[in-house]
Amino acid sequence: MKPSVAVRPRLLRTLFLGLLMFGPAFALSGCVTLEPVKPWQKGNLARSDMAFDADALESKMAEHVYVSKESHYGGNGVGGGGCGCN
């Protein structure tokens, strides 16, 4: 009977450590099971006020100018001259 008393705390500690290490992984796995939005459920997402840009034309122009100035960063196509007019 004596050993079991000695084993207990160690077992508890192992369990606690295991929980500490893998607990977040289990908790996060809950997020994976989130169901994706179905095509017919996109009514709210389709609203214009749900768009990232308030004005599509304006953001396109802003991006155009930005790219022409900062094209050395890359990733946005080919940059032109300095005036942002091409």
Binding site: K38, P39, W40
Partner: protein, 150 residues
């Protein structure tokens, strides 16, 4: 794939629930013997709006040849569908499925989706999306199905 199609067409017995106070049920099995153009649409979907004149045309020109155009609305709010229909008149049958039960069975992957069911009740074509350019093919498929013997 074929078996799945047949299974699905048996599943069409499933009913389209209406959000109206008096639930109006449409059983697609009762349309057996006719070619069914089953369309899934919603008020917020712009290509759906484009498809409405085409479906009106199909209904008017091929309705007496054994074609049933049945458009299932998938809006969560009935009012949104009513507003859409006030702007975009539909001459064909409309059913309402605000809970989205039926598109699940037809594995709808885009809005709108047109499902063509032949006279035997089998799903023959599934067409995702709608563009003006799709009209010709869809029309030809519908006409080919109409020519088949029941």
């Amino acid at each position: 794939m074929k078996i799945r199609h047949i299974l699905r067409s048996v599943l069409v017995g499933l009913l389209l629930l209406s959000s109206a106070a008096h639930a109006q049920l449409v059983s697609v099995t009762s349309l057996k013997g006719q070619v069914v153009y089953l369309d899934f649409w919603a008020s917020w979907c712009t290509p759906c709006k484009v498809s409405f004149p085409f479906m009106n045309e199909l209904h008017e020109q091929l309705g007496n040849k054994g074609l049933v155009v049945l458009a299932v609305n998938l809006d969560e709010q009935r009012a949104a569908a009513d507003r859409f229909l006030a702007q975009t008149p539909a001459k064909f049958r409309i059913a309402y499925d605000p809970k989205g039960v039926t598109p699940e069975h037809y594995t709808v992957k885009a809005m709108p989706t047109a499902v063509l069911i032949d006279r035997k009740g089998q799903v023959r074509h599934v067409h995702a999306g709608f563009r003006e350019a799709d009209k010709k093919d869809l029309r030809a498929q519908v006409e080919a199905l109409l020519k088949e013997a029941p």
